[in-house]
């Protein structure tokens, strides 16, 4: 089996007597978009800073691409491109000079590659303007460009959609998915916005007060044969229940005109056919998956920061 790209083992960070991160263990395989979700102050940024060597690790290890970030920093960080919080650039330099600056620091990054990333993020028209004239969205793109310069295997983005408008968020989201699917880059993205994570990620880790609470797989990646709770909206719920019972399908009334069954795709179609042939009007069929928000509130107990 392929070794995971990132391994965190019992990572703990203490500042003074306060434990910021408590025994965090995670694995991130190649090519996955992995969400890191938690309320403000839960330790997301601290974890990311430890992953890129900006903060020391009190105990435990972070291994990236087979190298320990503590002891083999220079080799481990070669696999990584990152934006930590806002993409702050040298404002008195042009976008291009900023990229050249980072390109010079990474062996093997040519000026050809710099042009390439400028085109990837669609900044060709303004790249020779000073950064202080850029909008936030353009700075964000320049940030992505510098993170891609070294063709990383792991892209780390800390709250990447902060300050972006809906179009910008959507663009970033599509772009990240494309990177993960086409180039096999693993993306580690932190956010406190649930809906956004749901659209962007394959798996989401939920963290609260420095502790890992749960790891969820997002709905769209479920197995086709998996049983899902389906809700039917019908005109005659009692009749529908007995019809389904006759067809050996266990159903329950969930209130009003709604009935629910547990079924995979084929069973859902069969249930629908049975209802229609019995002359029952079916108004709608939908999956009854809890949203990430509901799951999140469930696992964190809706707790506030004390």
């Amino acid at each position: 089996m392929e070794q995971p790209l990132v391994q965190m083992r019992n990572v703990t960070k203490k500042i003074g007597k306060r434990t910021i991160i408590d025994n965090l263990t995670l694995e991130l395989p190649q090519g996955e978009v992995f969400g890191f979700l938690g309320p403000n102050g839960s330790g997301k940024t601290t974890t990311i800073r430890m992953m890129v060597g900006l903060m020391s690790i009190t105990s435990g290890d972070i291994i990236i691409g087979g190298y320990n970030i503590k002891t083999e920093f220079e080799k481990a960080i070669r696999n990584v491109g990152a934006i930590v919080e806002n993409p702050e650039m040298y404002k008195y330099l042009t976008g291009y000079q900023n990229l050249i600056h980072y390109a010079r620091m990474t062996p093997g990054v040519t000026s050809h590659r710099v042009k390439e990333v400028v085109e990837i993020v669609g900044m060709s028209a303004r790249i020779h303007d000073k950064v202080k004239t850029y909008s936030l969205g353009m700075r964000q793109r320049l940030g992505v460009a510098q993170a891609l310069l070294n063709k990383p295997r792991l892209l780390i983005l800390d709250e990447p959609t902060n300050g972006l408008d809906p179009a910008g968020i959507r663009e970033l989201r599509d772009y990240l998915r494309r990177l993960a699917v086409q180039e096999g880059i693993a993306v580690f993205v932190s956010s406190h916005l649930l809906a956004e994570m749901e659209l962007m990620c394959d798996r989401v880790a939920i963290i609260q007060s420095g502790k890992l609470i749960d790891i969820k797989t997002i709905g769209r990646n479920r197995d086709v044969n998996e049983q899902i709770r389906m809700v039917f909206e019908v005109d005659a719920p009692q009749e529908a229940l007995s019809t389904l019972k006759a067809s050996q399908i266990a159903a329950e009334l969930v209130g009003g005109q709604l009935i629910a069954i547990n079924a995979d795709k084929a069973q859902t179609a069969a249930a629908n056919a049975a209802l229609v042939s019995a002359g029952i009007g079916v108004f709608g069929i939908r999956t009854d998956v809890k949203t990430l928000e509901e799951q999140f509130l469930e696992v964190t107990g809706g707790e506030r920061i004390g």
Binding site: I15, R49, V52, G53, L54, M55, S56, F73, E74, K75, I77, R78, V80, A82, I83, V84, E85, N86, P87, E88, M89, Y90, K91, Y92, L93, Q97, H101, Y102, R104, M105, T106, P107, Q146
Partner: protein, 264 residues
């Protein structure tokens, strides 16, 4: 090695692409021009080019020091205040090497600005006092007995550079430790200007530790005239004390920078 030179090129780009650097250079140039022009207008040939160069560089070295302190102080501190330190440190380079590139760029700037000042002083004063002067420059020179003027100025330049190097290192250390360029600039200049005067007075007192204060040894030029100096210390002793401070500054700077959690 080639790769490390790239780091220095980066730091140089961050210094010389800023307009303020060229304002500093222009300001020094203008001041020399103004002083020489006024001086030349009010004397008739009795001033030698050497005296003019010496007087002007002596005054302007203070300004050069201030400018160099400003640049050295902002090197590390502004990376922190601007947040760019985060993107700088996640490259495949150890923190020590990144810091070294910044330090060397600051030292190079100190040399650059000093050379610019000397070159401008020579050029402008050659035009004002050398070209049309009926007297031989050597005849009317008044400085440094026993030295040829050019030798004297060269030694003067070297001693001033040593002092400047120590001050740059001090400013660089404060900037790294406190991550504030304003603080680094104020403390360096305060120590340089105010404390320097107090120490002059302190040397009158008879405490042994005064001999080991940094500020008793920042002024090296008097050794050109008399060695040992007025307070009895020799050039060798002064250089040793400065050397010890220099090493201590570097050790503190590197230790703090390597240990620091970047959390801003």
């Amino acid at each position: 090695m080639v790769d490390f030179i790239n780091l220095i090129r980066n730091e140089n780009m961050k210094i010389y692409r800023r307009p303020r650097t060229w304002v500093m250079v222009g300001f020094i140039f203008m001041l020399i021009l103004i002083i020489s022009a006024i001086w030349a207008a009010n004397t008739s040939g009795s001033v030698s080019i050497w005296d003019a160069v010496y007087t002007e560089t002596d005054i302007l070295y203070m300004l050069v020091t201030i400018f160099v302190v400003v640049v050295a102080s902002s090197g590390v501190a502004e990376e922190f205040s601007g947040g760019t330190i985060k993107l700088l440190l996640i490259r495949p380079w150890s923190r020590s090497k990144i810091l070294l590139s910044k330090y060397l760029a600051s030292v190079l700037f100190a040399v650059f600005l000093s050379v610019v000042m000397f070159a401008a002083a020579f050029l402008i004063n050659w035009i004002c006092f050398g070209l049309f002067n009926p007297y031989s420059a050597e005849e009317i020179v008044t400085l440094g007995d026993g030295y040829k003027p050019i030798t004297y100025l060269f030694l003067y330049f070297c001693l001033k550079m040593i002092t400047l190097l120590v001050i740059v290192t001090l400013a660089f250390m404060i900037s790294t430790v406190f991550r504030s360029s304003i603080l680094a600039i104020s403390i360096s200049l305060f120590l340089l200007i105010i404390v320097n005067t107090i120490v002059m007075a302190l040397t009158m007192l008879d405490y042994a530790w005064i001999d080991y204060l940094l500020f008793s040894h920042l002024s090296l030029v008097p050794y050109l005239i008399e060695n040992p100096r007025y307070d009895g210390s020799t050039l060798g002793f002064s250089l040793s004390v400065l050397g010890v401070y220099y090493v201590v500054f570097l050790v503190i700077t590197w230790y703090v920078f390597n240990k620091r959690d970047v959390a801003s």
